[in-house]
Amino acid sequence: MSLVQALSFPFLQYAIVSVLFAGIAFPMIGVFIISLNLIPLRFAMMHIALLGGAIGLFLRVDPIFSGMLLCALSSLALGPISEKTKLGVGTISGYFMALTLALAFLLFYKADIHVLQAFNILWGNILSLTWVDLIFVIVISLIILSMVILFFKEIQAILYDREIALTVGIPEKSFYFLIIFMLGLTIAVSMRVIGALLVDAFILLPAMGAILISRSLKQIFFFSSLFGLISGIIGLYLSFLLDIPTSSTIIIVASLIIAVCFLIQRRSTMQILKNFFTGRRISLLIFLISWGFFFSFPPPASSQEVVVASTSLAGAIAKAAGAKEIRVIVSSGMRHPPEYDLRPSDVLKFEGAKVVIYGGYERMVLKLLETSKNKNILAMQINTETSPENLISQAKKISEVLKTEKEEQIWEKKFLEKLKELQKNIGPFSGKRAVVHRFAQPFAQWAGLQVVQIISPGELTPKVIGDAASKNPEMVIDIYHFPVAQVIAENAKCKYIQVINFPGVENTKTLEDIFEYNSEQLLKVFQ
């Protein structure tokens, strides 16, 4: 599929429009952040959104809404609080960051909220924008642009020196609070919409480059927007051309721009640009760029039995169910979903597919479904608990949809035989006392271990560690993708094992591989 063909897909259209707006407007926010030394604000907003999300999950309201609401309220409060306490907004942001993260973890612990589910609130990606997201980006961008254009001189005075701005008769406090509010809101919304990774690229990097080469604030705003736009467009273009993660590509382009700015600094920038862009070089560049538009990477093969799986586990279950062609989005399991960076081909995986299988905690699947051109796709939520009984029942469910019941039965027989064989090997460990991570519980039960305590995936408390260690376990079984319990093994002086739920580790592919790998871990530590 070439870029020209792909332009008919809404995801690419939305991505281009959002790059046009966010690329121009968001770097202006970066100019404020750098000039006012407010980098901690970005991290504070991230954790405030997390707490808001946790509150939403706890109160059973939309966690995204509650996350954004808390961010908006906090950014309103940040300015006045820093003023009252005489601590800078940067310092207060540090306070908010620590406090909200702690509160969020307490809430996860007390309300038994799935941490992955909460972190998902933070996931966003420029390739998975819905039209509502796009409107958000456009509106926020327009507000930023109007703020900078209408109040340029007030902003210039405040960034120059707040006290001077006050003494010349500018309503400095109101403007400063407005700036802080806009910064917080932009970071919060854009983080959710285009992803935390890209927020940094769009907000901070172009502004850094611009400050290096400019001779006035006007030039800084102009160059930061120009660099934001260039890195956005070139990044998107290269990411499509090479089918590599989009946000990361945009960041690399923006970083290269900074490197160039660093080299030229303020030494007659325009002269260097003029010398570089000669007629022949421009023609060559145009040729190379237009070649890219028609460069194709193989389109996803389209057949009626294509299954899209959100994770490697969903993919393995689909395989067990008899699916012929499976396209996995996050191949090696989601260790930290908010950071997963989509590639253009990830989005195209949905085209021509019949079913999408997901566990319910991957927000990206729902967003990608919404943006996909393929409206006939069936979204199938499955239970991804890794007990043999559940895996078989989920595979059966999928096979009914795919009409591959026969294949599923053949797999089921082989699977059970394999499990029997593995169980023989680990037979000697049956009945051993084990402290088990909740996600590893299905494996522990299957292995016949005596589970003396289950550890929740949230933060451990001293009491939990003490209780677990005092139960004299012979082993602690932790989860490879989300380990928390090594400290218990150290305190109880017992064996420590990490098992997997997602295939992908050490060449594991199938459901059988998961059990085989986990059994081997058990055998290994006791050898």
Binding site: L36, E154, Y160, L166, T167, V168, R215, S216, I220
Partner: protein, 228 residues
């Protein structure tokens, strides 16, 4: 005729500390008043009281005929009061000298308006008066400390104020630049008919320029010299 600045029995607390405990200062229009005192005597605080940044819990502050405790147009009043701070600010972005001086006009230009030609004329006039016209296109941080202090003075003049508040404007300068700046200030004070309030820790240095010198000690003010 009202006094340009009048502080009557001003008491001010910052946190739990009572910094000012009965300060009386008056400056008639066109007077050059100096306030001297040791470090930490509350001199800078006093300027901030005049500017309406700090509000006393006892006493009355009146500036240009307006009682600050009931004044609800402080920002408008501040446009007629120019401040030259103690030291040049730490500049976080590149800015040309002429732009930095223009900031002084922003309050008077008003919201949603761009500086007019007449504003630029005032900026160039101010730069001329303090002798930095030749640097107008240079970046502020390319200049020396003394030159940056002149920018602050030019900005204050460009504001076209009635009152000039100077917070130890020569502290970080060598003796030659100190003399130069003080002479410039004195000349401009007379030329423009300003009411000037200068804060300094050195009484001998300011005596020659001042109509009245106050000493600030233990939070109280004492007149230590007055011209006949």
């Amino acid at each position: 005729m009202h006094h340009s600045i009048e502080l009557i029995d001003v008491h001010l607390r910052i946190g739990n500390l009572e910094v000012l405990r009965g300060v009386n200062v008056e400056a008639k229009p066109c007077e050059f008043i100096s306030i001297v005192g040791a470090n930490g005597a509350g001199k800078t605080t006093l300027l901030k009281v005049v500017n309406g940044i700090f509000k006393p819990f006892i006493g009355r502050v009146s500036v240009l005929g307006q009682d600050l405790s009931v004044c609800n147009r402080l920002n408008a009043l501040r446009r007629d009061i120019a401040v030259v701070p103690q030291k040049p600010n730490s500049i976080r972005f590149p800015i040309r000298v002429e732009e930095a001086v223009m900031i002084g006009r922003y309050g008077k230009v008003g919201l949603f308006r761009k500086p007019k030609l007449s504003d630029w004329e005032k900026v160039y006039e101010a730069m001329e008066a303090v002798g930095i016209r030749k640097f107008s296109e240079r970046l502020v941080y390319e200049l020396s400390g003394g030159e940056q202090q002149k920018i602050a003075l030019a900005r204050a003049l460009a504001q076209d104020p009635l009152i000039l508040l100077l917070d130890e404007p020569t502290t970080y300068l060598d003796s030659e630049s100190q003399f130069e700046i003080m002479e410039t200030i004195h000349t401009i004070h007379h030329q423009r008919g300003l009411t000037t309030l200068l804060v300094s820790h050195d009484p001998h240095w300011v005596e020659q320029y001042s109509d009245k010198v106050y000493l600030l000690k233990d939070g109280k003010s004492h007149v230590i010299r007055q011209k006949e």
